[in-house]
Symmetry: none
Subunit: 221 residues, 4 copies
DNA sequence: GATGAATGAGGCTTCATTCAT
DNA sequence: CATGAATGAAGCCTCATTCAT
């Protein structure tokens, strides 16, 4: 084994200054992502120029390219963060989806009452700004969607199993999961981006969830 | 009264050449819109340059600007056409939505079995390329969505009335209508754009419709 | 001599319809020039597109090119008209310039009290819009200026001769004439285009004329 | 107080490299303005394309837009420079205008014998290329003219006061100042742009000045 | 690591002019 | 003669990206 490998395998003993640098690096990365998030949501992906992002983040344009390969990369990273947050929030809720469907109800509540009002920019970026921005971005969007849909899918299958039922068709679970994502997406888009109905979001969410539950019961016999 | 005046008052009898010009004009307009439709769907709104559109339509760039104010206008007009087609197809189906919900089922069938496989470019343009393209385009998207949602909404309210039921909340009808649009959108996006599952579209549509019907029954008591 | 030539040399016996056509032709020409005049003065030579001019004149673009070789020609013709009007107005006044300098005074009065308030568009076109528009236009501007300056020059020389004086230098007459044109130009520009002081134009003109007369007396000894 | 704060409060001591960069920046700015000046004067404002200017200045088009907002800005900056130079040259001369009118004579000499032969491009730009180029440019032209006229105006008022005389009318001073500017303008235009009579410029200037002095004496009684 | 000046390809748009009807 | 649709060259400008300091 070479020394190099050894170094890599054990945690590198970071000096104080190295630690500080590491911390600063991460802070700066966050700052930049934050600036991009704000500007993408406010001005749109295309109108938000790299220079403006740099200005907002109070760094130089060059620094942007030190931390991110290119503008697309910035969007992809942002997308990754949003996807991570979403799964994080919804994940545990879906995991608890059992016979009672309480997990599904909880997931809906979290999305409409927690995520939407607190992260409208993320809704804007995920459902508006990252749409139709070339193959790379689209691939990432798809990946995130697929994961979320898969989460829902598994919850649904667990529910189905627990209830001892069967899906109408082989695709039913996937169709339902995809449908649920589509519902969430458009309801958020209409009531948060096209008009600000944050106040009604609770009712909207509850209606949506009941709609979903009714749908599920129909397709699981 | 002079003859001249008489003539003016009745609809002007278009001369043969005038008629032909009128026809040619409309044909050319269609040609351009067709070229734009193809390229927007294939290359994306931004990558499809005006020059390329002109080339594809076999006209000069100047002609593009003779028929359309600018690139955005091209997209907006395209959007208008798609919106018109959608309402046209779904309209009569929704009108027949009554107690049996057969109208809703039919509308779903039309969307998934007729519209989607025959107009995938329209799906791509309406749900991908026209998203996040500035305020003007967004306003038109919203208008189209609002109309479609309103169509669904009214169908739902008729169903509700016929069944002598009541919606869970004041927003229920709108929430359901919006949800249905979201479902259609994402199911089409996943199974037509992200992967080509045209073959399974029939099953997918049926599952989706059953999901919807279950949902409706749940929210209408 | 060929028949053709004969025809040309005698006045062609115009039929009634030919006469009417001739009249219509001239009217149309005037209409177009009028539209151009208005638009050039209001929007500027470059911003006034041929299409807009055609619209304003209520003719087609093609017709514009039937009556005028190109856009430049339109400006040149307009310029010619303005030059003709100017010489017409000032000509007789200058012709009367004798010992008493009354002719010069009258010419100033005509310019500031008649021409300026009644033809501000012509001031705008001659002193603003036709400046720096390529060699052809510039050549015409020069020709008009030269003629006007020559008119003044000759008046000055007559005055000088009548008074039995001599010019300070060989160039004096020309310098004075050119100076007078420059004065008229800038005074009109400042008090008509840059601000509307039509009310004070009379006083301004009188002061200007006195300034000129003082100057002349100085250079003619 | 921390050292840092102290440092900030005094003028920041520019490092050598920073100084060099500053110098380079200014040099490049000058280069670009020089190229624009040459091309505007030679080809005309419109025919001088941004690309050609960039080529002449040996920079890229992007660099042009780094230093100037747009083409109009380039012209405006050029105009500003010309205006500054003009006032600089004429300013002190006019300041010395007193009873003897020697200051006025000197100002004329400077304009015709120094400025005109040495900066014909500036004459072309100020009196030809910047005319009728939209509201923004026109506003700057007016501002420069107003300042120059004001300079002359104040000189005239000082002369008047020193001589214990009175102007013929309230507007006399302004009219004379405007007239003088108009004279200078057109004499330069005719004898430098429309034909090259640089050799006679001395005589022309002297005649012009005598004309002016005669005029002044007439209006100040 | 950070900076920011420099690049230049590429896009959209305008508009004078032509020509078939 | 008149029309007006069609042309296409040419211009201005943006902006993601690079690289010497």
């Amino acid at each position: 084994m070479s020394k190099k490998k050894d170094r890599r395998e054990t945690t590198p003993p970071l000096s104080k200054s190295a630690l500080r640098r590491q911390r600063e690096r991460e802070q700066r990365l966050e700052t930049i992502l934050g600036a991009a998030q704000t500007l993408f949501a406010a001005d749109g992906y295309h109108k938000a120029s790299m220079e403006k992002i740099a200005d907002t983040a109070e760094v130089s344009v060059g620094t942007l390219y030190f931390y991110f390969k290119n503008k697309e990369d910035l969007l992809v990273k942002l997308l990754g963060q949003i996807g991570f947050d979403l799964r994080n929030m919804l994940g545990s809720a879906f995991k608890n989806a059992d016979l009672s469907l309480a997990g599904i109800r909880e997931a809906g509540r979290i999305f409409f009452e927690d995520f939407c009002p607190n992260h409208p920019e993320n809704i804007a970026i995920f459902f508006r700004e990252s749409v139709g921005q070339g193959e790379v971005v689209e691939a990432h969007r798809k990946k995130i969607f697929d994961k979320l849909i898969d989460d829902v899918c598994q919850a649904l299958m667990r529910v189905c199993e627990n209830q001892g039922g069967r899906f109408q068709s082989d695709l039913s679970a996937e169709v339902m999961a995809t449908s649920i994502m589509g519902m969430f997406e458009r309801l958020a888009y209409h009531n948060l981006i096209w008009q600000d109905r944050s106040a009604e979001l609770k009712t909207i969410g509850q209606d949506a969830i009941d709609f979903i539950i009714g749908g599920i019961e129909r397709l699981v016999r």
